[in-house]
């Protein structure tokens, strides 16, 4: 947590190189500490894949709640090939043939505890809210798509065929959450596969389920450690590889990968000018430090 505050501070120095901004920055940094400290209390959803029946009611509820086009029902083909959430459909349910038969898996933004997309965003258009959801803000976004490059789950989607493109993804119904409601998908789920709660509650619940029915579940809560922890947690009857989940992700938060680089930035900003100026003075020939310091010397030839 402290590291994060340090990072923010460094960022302040690095980006603007403005010393005067330090005061207000460190206050912001403390907010960040507080936010991270509350991570376990943030909103989260547990997906129990042993319960999901693949009815796709969540897809419909999501579309309705956000004014997205209705999912294409005509196709049970959508169960044949793996689909990905896209700019017009923020959650999809896929069917997987596994070693234990048919398993359905709902996919959407994982709402990381320390999201790579938000760390990558140079305008804070993608924002980890104190409540937990990672949201996108139109008035900030430049459309650089660095979030898409950085997200380990390839979640943010871009409207490539719009003159005013948006980054689209699940926002965990942030507005509904703030009115005390559950996310639309959770509320609509008829089978009880989705449970809404705080992250720590749900981790406890997930562990209990594994302990109570060790034969029903693999001993792995996906999202507990993946990418440093995510807001969406999964229980599965089969190893997650069989469901196309990436199991090779870092156990630490992705922003940690740029920590060393960002730490070195203020060091370079301070040390380089001093060293360069010193070198220049040290290598100057006698009484020459006042030479005409631009393109062509006014007198004298080349050595």
């Amino acid at each position: 947590m402290r590291r994060r505050a340090f990072l923010k501070l460094l960022g302040a120095v690095a980006g603007t190189a403005a010393g005067s901004a330090l005061e207000s920055r460190s206050a912001k940094a403390e907010d960040a500490v507080a936010a991270t400290a509350r991570a376990e209390d943030q909103a989260a959803v547990l997906v129990d894949l042993t319960v999901c029946v693949g009815c796709r009611t969540c897809e419909a509820a999501c579309a309705e709640a956000h004014g997205l086009p209705e999912p294409d029902w005509s196709d049970d083909f959508s169960y044949e090939t793996e689909r990905f959430a896209d700019e017009e459909q923020w959650t999809v349910v896929n069917r997987h043939e596994t070693s234990r038969g048919e398993v359905f898996a709902k996919r959407q933004c994982m709402h990381c505890v320390q999201p790579a997309c938000a760390a990558a965003c140079l305008t804070k258009a993608l924002l980890k809210t104190p409540e937990g959801p990672v949201v996108w803000r139109a008035d900030k976004c430049m459309g650089c798509r660095f979030c898409m490059v950085s997200c380990p789950f390839d979640v943010p989607k871009f409207e490539y065929h719009s003159a005013v493109p948006r980054i689209q993804k699940c926002r965990m119904c942030w507005d509904r959450l703030r009115q005390g409601e559950e996310p639309a998908c959770v509320e609509s789920c008829p089978s009880g596969a989705l449970t809404f709660g705080t992250r720590s509650e749900l981790l406890r619940l997930a562990r209990e389920r594994i302990v109570q029915s060790p034969n029903q579940y693999v001993d792995h809560i996906y999202g507990e450690h993946e990418a440093g922890g995510t807001g969406w947690l999964y229980l599965s009857p089969v190893p997650f590889e069989e469901l196309g989940f990436r199991t090779d992700l870092e156990p630490t938060a992705y922003p940690e990968l740029t920590r060393d680089f960002l730490t070195s930035v203020p060091l370079v900003l301070i040390l380089w000018p001093a060293m360069l100026f010193g070198l220049r003075e040290a290598t100057a020939r006698g009484g020459e430090s006042s030479d005409v310091p631009d393109g062509w010397r006014l007198e004298g030839g080349v050595t």
């Binding site: 980006g15 305008t123 990968l257 370079v268």
Partner: protein, 429 residues
């Protein structure tokens, strides 16, 4: 290509002397703004068509969205415009900070004659290629947000890179400004601007260190997406170190073109010392390439990537490292020892290709290497890249034919250059 450009400008060797004291500025500018030389040359026609096509494509792009002209998709958000125009273009522009380091920090006078042209090249590269970023932005009207907006994404490497691009362009403009003042005949302004040069140089070298490495750091979080042979924690260091030989190779390569095309604009000092400069820069390239290869070995051993070496990706990796990095290093060593300038130019060209391939590997080719149906740029992306390059050459030529970039042009300031000017021009025509 140099022959093509040469035909357009060689005959354009109008007697161009900077503004004389007493000459009215307005009249002078009107005279200077006119093209110098024939307009209907093959290079001009082809480049004008490319630029026109670029404009049309960009109109379509801004009306119908990026997807209407590029092959980018949800899996490949960054393509040729970032991988080549920005990543490679900025590496190639690295010569400016290296040469200002040699001349203003280490006082190596040998390289002074090419400082201005290198800084001009670097400045234009940033303006045009970093400018290419703007056309790649989905919501470019928000580009001021990281600069003026109250929400600074301080944890973003791109935030750092954006600020550094902006500040570095300013620093390079300051470094270049004495030439502009000389062109306009503003003696006193020039003195003031000249006094700012060293500060701008020190600031510029610092910024370059950080944003050259920052471009590599952009990909640190893309760890699960980049082929393990190319992903390493050392990406920022590798990008920085390779920008040194990328920039210097560009200086060598471009210098051999410039010298022929703009020979009549070259000062005596440059004419005399050109070969020694090329050999000196080649030695630096060889040394830095050697260090870079060492870092590559460290990264390779650290990540224990042996098993990736078999198969197509391994072969492609070895081609980049051995064929496009180790080979030009050997060529630089041999060429510099024997004084073979032709060999050195080939070494510079191969080095540049190697850096371009490396940047494209990290950003597009080995990015999502596991995906079927990989990103390949559309013809329109290629045309825009070509059009931007042509536009840059036009501006470069315009400046070269007017401002004292390759050597002192101002008879009022310096020992007159008439001899050099007139002796060179006929030889060119």
């Amino acid at each position: 290509m140099n022959a093509v450009i040469a035909t357009s400008s060689a005959t354009a060797a109008g007697p161009s002397v900077s503004r004389k004291p007493g000459e009215r500025l307005g009249a002078y500018l009107r005279r200077e703004l006119r093209p110098k030389g024939p307009l209907l040359t093959p290079f001009n026609v082809v480049s004008a068509l490319l630029i026109l096509a670029t404009v049309v494509i960009l109109v379509v792009r801004f009306v119908y969205g990026l997807g209407s002209v590029t092959n980018l998709d949800q899996r490949f958000p960054w393509g040729l415009w970032i991988g080549f125009d920005v990543l490679t273009g900025v590496a190639f522009a690295g010569g400016a900070y290296i040469l200002t380091f040699l001349v203003y920090i280490l006082h190596v006078e040998k390289y002074r004659p090419i400082v201005r042209v290198t800084v001009l090249n670097g400045f234009l590269a940033y303006v045009f290629y970093a400018g290419a970023l703007l056309i790649d932005l989905g919501r470019p009207w928000n580009v001021v947000n990281p600069i003026l907006g109250n929400d600074f994404g301080l944890t973003s490497v791109l935030f750092l890179v954006a600020w550094h691009f902006l500040l570095y362009m300013t620093a390079e403009l300051v470094e270049l400004s004495p030439a502009i003042a000389e062109w306009l005949g503003w003696q006193r302004v020039r003195k003031v601007l000249g006094a700012l040069t060293v500060g701008a140089v020190i600031f510029g070298i610092t910024l370059s260190t950080l944003h050259q490495s920052g471009l590599g750091a952009l990909y640190l979080m893309a760890k699960p997406k980049i082929h393990p042979l190319w992903y390493t924690e050392l990406l920022p260091v590798l990008f920085f170190v390779s920008s040194i030989f990328a920039g210097l190779s560009m200086v060598i390569f471009e210098g051999s073109l410039t010298r022929r095309v703009f020979q009549h604009r070259a000062g005596k000092e440059l004419a005399r010392s050109h070969d020694a400069i090329v050999i000196g820069l080649s030695k630096i390239c060889a040394g830095v390439l050697f260090a870079y290869l060492g870092l590559k070995v460290v990264a390779f051993l650290h990540d224990q990537s042996w098993h990736y070496l078999s198969g197509g990706w391994g072969a492609w990796y070895l081609f980049e490292v051995l064929g496009l990095t180790a080979l030009p290093m050997v060529l630089f060593v041999v060429g510099a020892r024997r004084g073979w300038l032709g060999t050195l130019r080939i070494a510079a060209l191969v080095t540049m290709i190697g850096v371009a391939v490396n940047r494209l590997n990290v950003s597009t080719i080995a990015f999502k290497w596991y995906e079927a149906g990989h990103y390949v740029p559309s013809w329109m992306e290629l045309v825009v890249t070509g059009g931007i390059l042509c536009a840059e050459i036009w501006v470069f030529r315009w400046v070269m034919l007017r401002m004292p970039v390759l050597g002192p042009q101002d008879a009022g300031t310096e020992r007159a250059n008439e001899g050099g000017d007139e002796a060179a021009s006929p030889a060119q025509a």
